[in-house]
């Protein structure tokens, strides 16, 4: 297993701190779409309160892997996920675990901002309401909007539609909405790809703040973004059958300065992908 070798060969200080206390561990994860093997043999340890970035060329299965963690692939009838996803010691990929319980704890922010066609206030309060969170609604809305660095911009128009905000604000609203269900892991699927550079920077700053309390896994096409925000980077590539494989994982600085695998180096230096 490529990954195991790399992990084994890199017994640095970061390994000692990250591996034994992973919050999410993917073990031998394989994803099929119908008969097509989309991703194979993913083994990944996600350390708590760090940002893990998944990078790689288009179609290499980064988003597919991300969507396994909160069981979003259950919504795609043809998708079949095998292997285990250990979260707080429980295999959340097992049939016995209701995906609703998983998603309640593992929040997700999508590529395209998708606020509900409701008021800003209701966008945030809704998730708390269905999950029976007792916190005073007004306090919760303010806490989450502050947490997503959006409060000052919207505090005077909480009754207005979430869809009326700018793209960057909508994305921060979606992050605030996720905070309202008190997750401990937040998945972000290319959260800045639809945003302008200034909004992107705001989201990146926000991620650095959020990571003090939450574990973040982000899929990004933007290598500068991965280099800027993440602590750990995971590189995916395609094998000859166009199946996604995990090539290399490591501390972000090490991945960008001294990649172990030539495919990682080619991708990072722009020779490929």
């Amino acid at each position: 297993m490529v990954n195991a070798q790399i992990l084994g060969g890199r017994e640095g200080a970061d390994m000692a701190s990250s591996e034994p206390e992973s919050i999410v561990s993917l073990r031998d994860l394989n994803v099929h779409y119908g008969s097509f093997l989309a991703v194979r043999d993913v083994n990944l340890e996600v350390p708590p309160r760090q940002i893990t970035a998944l990078i790689g060329p288009s179609g290499c299965g980064k988003s597919t892997v991300l969507r396994c963690v909160n069981r979003m692939n259950d919504l795609i009838p043809a998708a079949k996920v095998t292997g285990s996803i250990i979260y707080h010691g429980i295999d959340v990929n097992s049939r016995a675990v209701d995906p609703v319980e998983v998603r309640r704890r593992v929040g997700m922010v999508f590529q395209k901002p998708n606020p509900f066609p409701k008021s800003i206030y209701d966008n945030i309060a809704w998730g708390a309401k269905i999950n029976g969170i007792k916190e005073n609604r007004d306090d919760l809305v303010e806490r989450c909007l502050r947490g997503a660095a959006l409060w000052d911009e919207v505090k005077d128009k909480l009754k207005e539609s979430g869809m009326a905000l700018s793209g960057g604000q909508q994305q921060r609203l979606c992050i605030a909405r996720t905070l309202a269900i008190n997750p401990d892991v937040i998945l972000m699927d290319e959260p800045c790809s639809a945003l302008d550079p200034i909004s992107t920077l705001k989201i990146e700053d926000l991620m650095r703040t959020l990571v003090e309390e939450y574990t973040i896994i982000i899929v990004t096409h933007n290598m500068q973004q991965a280099a800027r925000v993440s602590d750990q980077t995971v590189f995916f590539s395609l094998d000859t059958n166009r199946t996604g494989v995990m090539v290399e994982t490591g501390a972000t600085r090490q991945m960008f300065t001294n990649p172990q695998d030539s495919r990682t180096e080619d991708y990072i230096t722009g020779r490929f992908g």
Binding site: R103, R105, F110, G127
Partner: protein, 313 residues
């Protein structure tokens, strides 16, 4: 433009028309004009076809108004049918239409909407579902007289409901149910997938997602489909003639098992009479039917706008 060479230079043309203020040379301009002519030709054709369609409609409409309006008075609206044109009215047909529409709506809306929701949101993608789906699509295209035959056999004879309001409503519900199912499905399919994903990602169950996000977003479309289905039911004649709704009815229905008539049947009956006065009466009836139809459509538009606004897009 003073570009003499470079990527913009087209070797097939005789130079830039600097004097005429155009980038293109003569040959290129000629070819561009030829390409534009196709666009113009298509536009002209479309306008002619629309003019024919709308022109026919306008002529028919004014003919109906011209013949019908002189007969359209309070007496016409409040009298029963009669052998004498000047005493004949549409009271029974209006009552019958209202009774039948109310019960058609009661029978068809919940059935059609629920089926649409089930097919889109709950049904697994298997052979049974696909079989049901294909059948519903085909049913929407079955001639309504076939439903009349079905209604005659099942509701009138087998269930012994007679040629009553309820038999007519049930038959008409069958006619419009597939239309409602399809309108519901299309409205639900138009709900952006990001909305569903956003809801599920917050730990919502399927029912919470459907109730709070899918249905409110699809609701204006579902409503429009339902009202259009109701408009179709109001104008349908064939299935009701088939089950034997009466043509001459000097009474209003008192309960569900009473016999009845509806506006289109009365109009049909009048047009088949020999006296020309009855033909003008039919025109007056058509004016009333059109007024009801247009009001229904107007209500559909208003309701749709109302619910769209509630949705804070």
């Amino acid at each position: 433009m003073a570009i003499e060479s470079g990527p913009f230079r087209d070797s097939s043309v005789d130079g830039f028309g600097a004097a005429s203020g155009t980038l293109a040379g003569e040959g290129e301009t000629r070819r561009l004009n030829a390409r534009k002519r196709w666009g113009k030709a298509f536009e002209a054709l479309s306008i002619v076809l629309i003019a024919i369609a709308l022109g026919t409609l306008v002529v028919l409409f004014f003919d109906v108004l011209r013949r019908g309006l002189p007969w359209l008075d309070w007496q016409f609206l409040t009298s029963f049918d009669s052998r004498f044109a000047e005493r004949a009215g549409i009271k029974a047909a209006i009552y019958g239409t209202v009774w039948m529409m109310i019960f058609t709506i009661i029978f068809s809306f919940p059935l059609g909407v629920a089926t649409g929701i089930w097919l889109e949101e709950y049904a697994a993608d298997n052979r049974l579902t696909r079989f049901i789906q294909i059948n519903i699509s085909n049913l929407a295209g079955v001639p309504s007289i076939i439903y009349g035959l079905l209604g005659l056999q099942i509701f009138v004879r087998f269930m012994e409901l007679g040629r009553s309001v309820i038999a007519g409503s049930l038959t008409m519900a069958l006619v419009v149910a597939p239309i409602i199912v399809i309108a519901t499905q299309e409205s639900i399919r138009a709900v952006p997938s990001g909305l569903r994903e956003g809801s599920y990602a917050l730990g919502a169950t399927k029912w919470e997602t459907v109730k709070h996000h899918v249905l409110p977003t699809a609701f204006p479309g579902i409503l429009t489909g339902n009202i259009l289905a109701a408009s179709r039911a109001i104008g349908e004649t064939a299935p009701l003639i088939m089950i034997g709704a009466l043509t001459f009815v000097p009474f209003t229905p008192e309960n569900l098992l009473d016999r009845f008539t509806v506006l289109p049947i009365l109009i049909f009956n009048w047009t088949s009479k020999a006296q020309s006065d009855f033909h003008d009466l039919a025109a007056a009836g058509i004016v009333v039917l059109l007024a009801i139809l247009l009001s229904l459509n107007a209500i559909a538009v208003l309701l749709r706008q109302h619910f769209r606004r509630k949705l804070r897009f």
